[in-house]
């Protein structure tokens, strides 16, 4: 019985240390000097005003967002580091049960938007942009339903941020 318990605890520790999550990915690369990492936890309303968002719904959406984390890597597209990050990211998207919401490409620029609803109204949105020599990961988490999250970046094919323009 004790051996069994030890084995279970050991297995749990191994799994916990090996299984990479979005959080661990951001933590891992945020300390790397080749990356730029920015996190915004509060003051979402200020951010909304930066966009010039005056719409009530958009302000509500901004208030529902808990945090925005951005990880940017400026490096050659074929560099081992870039490939390693993309590899890690692909694994997380697969294991983390993210669903693809938008996949857009314009010339060499690509945008992928993934989302998942973890618990009740606990959503994660991951925006991955790939440009020439630059990879950006934007992780937005908030307390909103799937529909609210989808509406936050898409309204009749336009992003909600269009309120700014």
């Amino acid at each position: 019985m004790k051996k069994m318990l030890t084995l279970v605890v050991f297995t749990m520790i191994v799994v916990a240390t090996q299984a990479q999550t979005l959080q661990s990915l951001f933590e891992k690369y945020s300390k790397d000097e080749r990356f730029t990492y920015v996190t915004v936890g509060s003051g979402m309303m200020n951010l909304a005003s930066n966009f010039g968002i005056k719409n009530k719904n958009s302000k509500l959406m901004a208030s529902k967002m808990r945090s925005i984390k951005i990880l940017t890597l400026e490096n050659d597209a074929n560099s081992p580091l870039m490939k390693s990050v993309i590899q890690d990211l692909d694994k997380i998207i697969e294991v983390g049960k993210f669903e693809t919401a938008v996949e857009a490409r314009e010339k060499a620029e690509m945008v992928h938007i993934y989302y998942r609803v973890v618990e009740k109204d606990n959503a994660d949105m991951l925006i991955v942009t790939k440009e020439r020599g630059e990879l950006s990961l934007v992780w937005i988490s908030g307390k909103m339903s799937k529909e609210e999250m989808m509406n936050s970046f898409s309204q009749n094919g336009k992003t909600n941020m269009d309120a700014a323009s």
Partner: protein, 165 residues
């Protein structure tokens, strides 16, 4: 004499009360015990002696010997619990620190404004990318709007047919 006989009879039948038993004990302790009752004196003296011996040397309560391994497990769980609590406290303290910051070149920049501006800039870039990619959808929308009169023709045709009939 008769009452003692009666009490003795009830005593051996197990019908006496505690008070009656004490009465019998007191009777056999005193010197004027009737010769007919002398045979029972040794019995009551023996009970009394045993009672005194018990009160002088009460039975020792034997504690079950705990195995050393059980103690080790208890200690392990206790230490793990303490460690987990400490980690949780540290984590809560860390999470309560300002959430708006940037990491550039491995250095932490604790500047709300910078973090928010950087985030806004990144989101604007994503917005532009998406907006450009979604242009064909907007065009489709325009074409659909432009085709609205053709859909109306169908209803006009139906109305004409109805009038003709």
């Amino acid at each position: 004499m008769e009452s003692i006989n009666e009490l003795l009879e009830r005593y051996f039948s197990g019908e006496t009360t505690l008070a009656e038993e004490n009465q019998l004990k007191l009777y056999f302790k005193c010197q004027n015990v009737l010769p007919d009752h002398e045979i029972y004196r040794s019995l009551f003296e023996a009970f009394d002696a045993e009672l005194q011996d018990k009160s002088a040397n009460p039975t020792e309560r034997v504690q079950p010997v705990r195995k050393k391994t059980t103690r080790i497990w208890i200690k392990t769980f206790a230490y793990t619990g303490i460690a987990a609590t400490l980690l949780l406290t540290l984590w809560i303290q860390r999470s309560q620190e300002s959430k708006n910051y940037a990491m550039v070149g491995g250095k932490r920049i604790q500047d709300n404004e910078y973090a928010e501006k950087y985030t806004a800039q990144k989101l604007n870039e994503i917005h532009d990318l998406l907006h450009n990619s979604m242009k064909p959808i907007n065009s489709i929308e325009k074409v659909r709007n432009g085709l609205q009169p053709i859909h109306k023709l169908e209803s006009v045709k139906k109305t004409i047919n109805r009038i003709e009939n």
